[in-house]
């Protein structure tokens, strides 16, 4: 059983999601639910940043949860970006083609500047 801890922070109305650990089949449903619930809440965020600093691994199932989050964000009219990707996570995003449909920033400051 893998462990993925996800914490949320709000900076000037922008929700920063920090997944920490491995995003695989076991963790995917919980992560997806966190993204969907945050976007469906009464306080719609001005933007959502997935800060991948501590995300070490993304599997096929994990990638789908990112896709669902990106789709939910677009439906809600909330800008959705990722930042601070490790080399292995970036490779998953690049090979799968996910990087073609989402915006990536080098770090959280750059992502916040974009959404700010």
């Amino acid at each position: 059983m893998s462990v993925l801890n996800t914490t949320l922070e709000t900076v000037n109305g922008v929700v920063v999601v920090l997944p920490e650990g491995r995003l695989d089949y076991d963790a995917a449903a919980g992560f997806q639910s966190t993204l969907e619930q945050t976007l469906a809440g009464s306080d719609k965020p001005r933007g959502m940043i997935i800060d991948c600093t501590s995300l070490s691994y993304v599997s096929s199932a994990g990638l789908r949860s990112f896709l669902v989050g990106a789709r939910a964000a677009k439906s809600a009219g909330v800008p959705f970006v990722v930042c601070s990707l490790s080399q292995s996570v970036r490779e998953v995003f690049t090979v799968s083609g996910f990087s073609r449909i989402i915006e990536e920033h080098a770090d959280r400051a750059a992502a916040l500047a974009k959404l700010g």
Partner: protein, 216 residues
């Protein structure tokens, strides 16, 4: 609800009930294996990354296609999606037959046998309930014509339909050309689909190499 693998097989059925020529091609077979792997992923039997497929559970799913694939994925060696697709390729004729049987059982297709030129036996699968096939085509079209982020199911369906040569069954060459950029953008945002595409490329390269060998 039909499985992704059944949905893909359904797209290979032509208006007159004939199984499309495409279904006999290696690309379709590999796309069908990919659909089974995605279905197995969705049912928690396996997960995949860029280097390997990880079996999470060997518990039968109750779906003959998926259980056949899962049963074949034995051994301790970790193989990538591409390697598994190539290794499972000999199972394609059985998988196609199982998919058609499942669709007949669901009342979506009928099975009719006739004689061609009074001698050759011919089996057709006329569509009895066209909703599922229409829905699959509509989902592909709305994914390609819209600008939404696709659902995981729809991106896989588009990606595997493209890899299996099924888009040509209901889109003209001009339409495919016009939608090429969108197909590339939203088709197959998925590691299993990318593995299927790599397997098809490898298979084509192997066939090309074989044709270059001297005949003596």
């Amino acid at each position: 609800m039909i499985s992704l693998a059944e949905e893909l097989a359904l797209l290979a059925i032509e208006d007159d009930g004939a199984v499309a020529y495409t279904a006999g091609q290696a690309g379709f077979g590999m796309a069908l294996i990919g659909a089974c792997l995605v279905d197995l992923n969705g049912q928690g039997r396996l997960d995949a990354d860029l280097t390997a497929v990880h079996i999470l559970s060997r518990a039968p799913t109750g779906d003959p296609m998926l259980d056949l694939v899962l049963g074949e994925m034995s051994g301790d060696t970790l193989l990538s999606v591409e390697q598994w697709v190539l290794q499972l390729a000999p199972q394609v004729p059985t998988l196609v037959q199982l998919a058609l049987t499942a669709l007949v059982k669901r009342g979506i297709l009928a099975q009719k046998e006739s004689r061609f030129l009074w001698v050759l036996k011919e089996r057709r699968y006329p569509v009895m309930d066209g909703r599922e096939q229409k829905e699959a085509k509509l989902r592909i079209m709305s994914t390609l014509l819209g600008d939404d982020v696709p659902t995981p199911h729809d991106t896989v369906l588009v990606g595997l339909a493209r890899a299996g040569g099924l888009l040509e069954g209901f889109l003209s060459a001009q339409e495919i050309h016009r939608l090429e950029s969108r197909i590339g953008e939203v088709g197959g945002i998925d590691l299993v689909v990318r593995g299927v595409e790599a397997a098809i490329r490898e298979d084509q390269a192997a066939r090309a190499r074989a044709m270059m060998l001297p005949m003596y």
